[in-house]
Amino acid sequence: MRISTFFYTLWQGIRNIFRNKWFSLASIATIAACLFLFGLFYSILTNFQFMIKKAEQGVSVTVFFNEDIDESEIQEIQQQIMKRAEVSKVDYVSADDAWASFSKEYLGDYADGFPDNPLAESANLEIYLNDVSMQSALVTYLESIDGVRSVNKSEITADTLSGVNVLIGYVSAGIIIILLAVSIFLISNTVMIGISVRKEEIMIMKYIGATDFFVRAPFVIEGITIGIIGSLIPLAIIRILYGNVVVYISEKFTILSSLLQFVSIDTIFKTLLPMSIVMGVGIGFIGSYTTVRKHLRV
């Protein structure tokens, strides 16, 4: 291809956007609307998952040991438990730590009345999990270790959290399918309008002896440009809205402040930005490519 042809094609593609102002605006609006919904949903989903993860990490299993086990053995067991994939953190709480924490929380100054540590057999390991659904498997393992007296766990919290996780999975799949269907419907409608506008132009080009590539290239450039613009608009809106919404929710629901921990916008944008742009470009490319293809057989 000649350089002049390349620039001509590029220029025609950009000019096409302005030539058909209303068509371009409709296409940009359609893509922007779809990608805005997508971005919105993605942000909500990411935050939900983040909160669930946080809650999961707060769920701990406590292991108590027989009297005859000394501290070094417990620490050895701690090392073994650390090696398991579902375990995120293991804290060793010695008998003295346990008493100090208990007395501080419940007894205050009255604690001085106890000359010995009443919780002498309470040395324990607090285990935090990455994945709450693995809790029962971990408990079975812990109970099988020699020297373990008892394992305390919170079955209900763990079950609820893994249940919520599964539910979010289904809901996300459902919403993604609905969003896809809506975008395809809207985009095919916009493309149909495009066809009637371009039909004659494509036919003239073909009669003159233009190759398929020459006919198609400006349209594809136009489509991709529209796609990029259509993806940047919702990204900008989400970027502005996000901070405000987070502040609003945090202020409105102060009771839930321990649970409501939000992902930073930068973290969300690390994935959302490239995904939205790729989707915008993809929609623009496929939309323009298929529209023109239908009319190339002249």
Partner: protein, 243 residues
């Protein structure tokens, strides 16, 4: 083997267009063309006349390879059109300039851009386009209107732009499909004069028309088609009254 023989026989230097027992049927109804054989030599000026539905449009579409024949062979400028591969069609069409009744100009581009477009399609360097377009525009008498948009021009002027676009690539053949169909008599004559000049420069010109006066006055070869069959083919012929 037979096809090959026909090909060499019909693509000699003399003939520009050869239709060899060509028939074209659509899925419904009677055949649009029925066993049509035509030879048009290089540099000829030919009128193709006939009522609407006679098969004239089908003939044009076959020559442009918009359609392929159901039977028989079509040769244009030495090329077996029926066997042309799809991706070779654009290059093939660059040998044929086409002018339509409804002009078919790109409405959002000015006169210069409409003509230059034909050159861009075949990737002529910009500096050559800048030289060729004004030349061809002045030939059709529109040098002063190169900035105008099609809707600012009269029908006759629009047709001259279409003619300039068809000529700028110096095609071997010029196909004009009802070029005067939307024009008043004065403009019609202007266009016909231009076509004749183009023909005198060596381009083979084929004009499909209904215009009885023009056909009769110009005393060129006239091929008359009726219901898909050639009913007459005369040198210096006239418009046959079919009633």
């Amino acid at each position: 083997m037979l096809r090959k023989k026909v090909k060499t026989q019909d693509t000699d230097d003399k003939n520009m267009i050869v239709l060899d027992h060509v028939s074209k049927s659509y899925s419904t109804g009677a055949p649009a063309l029925n066993d049509v054989s035509i030879k048009i030599e290089k540099g000829e000026f030919v009128f193709v006349v006939g009522d609407s539905g006679s098969g004239k449009s089908t003939l044009i579409k076959l020559l442009l390879r918009e359609l392929t024949s159901t039977e028989g062979d079509v040769f244009v400028n030495g090329c077996d059109v029926g066997r042309l591969r799809r991706r070779k069609i654009p290059k093939f069409r660059r040998n044929i300039g086409v002018v339509f009744q409804d002009f078919r100009l790109l409405k959002d581009r000015n006169v210069y851009e409409n003509v230059a477009f034909a050159q861009r399609v075949i990737q002529v360097p910009t500096r050559d386009i800048k030289r060729n377009v004004p030349k061809v525009l002045s030939r059709v008498g529109l040098a002063g209107k190169y900035k105008a948009k099609p809707k600012q021009l009269s029908g006759g002027e629009q047709q001259r732009v279409a003619l300039a676009r068809a000529l700028v690539n110096r095609p071997a053949i010029l196909l004009a499909d009802e070029p005067t169909g939307n024009l008043d008599p004065n403009n019609s004559w202007e266009i016909m004069k231009l076509l004749e000049e183009i023909n005198q420069d060596g381009t083979t010109v084929i004009v499909v028309t209904h215009n009885r006066e023009i056909v009769n006055a110009m005393e060129k070869r006239v091929i008359t088609i009726k219901k898909g069959v050639i009913i007459s083919d005369e040198e210096k012929g006239g418009y046959i009254n079919e009633d």
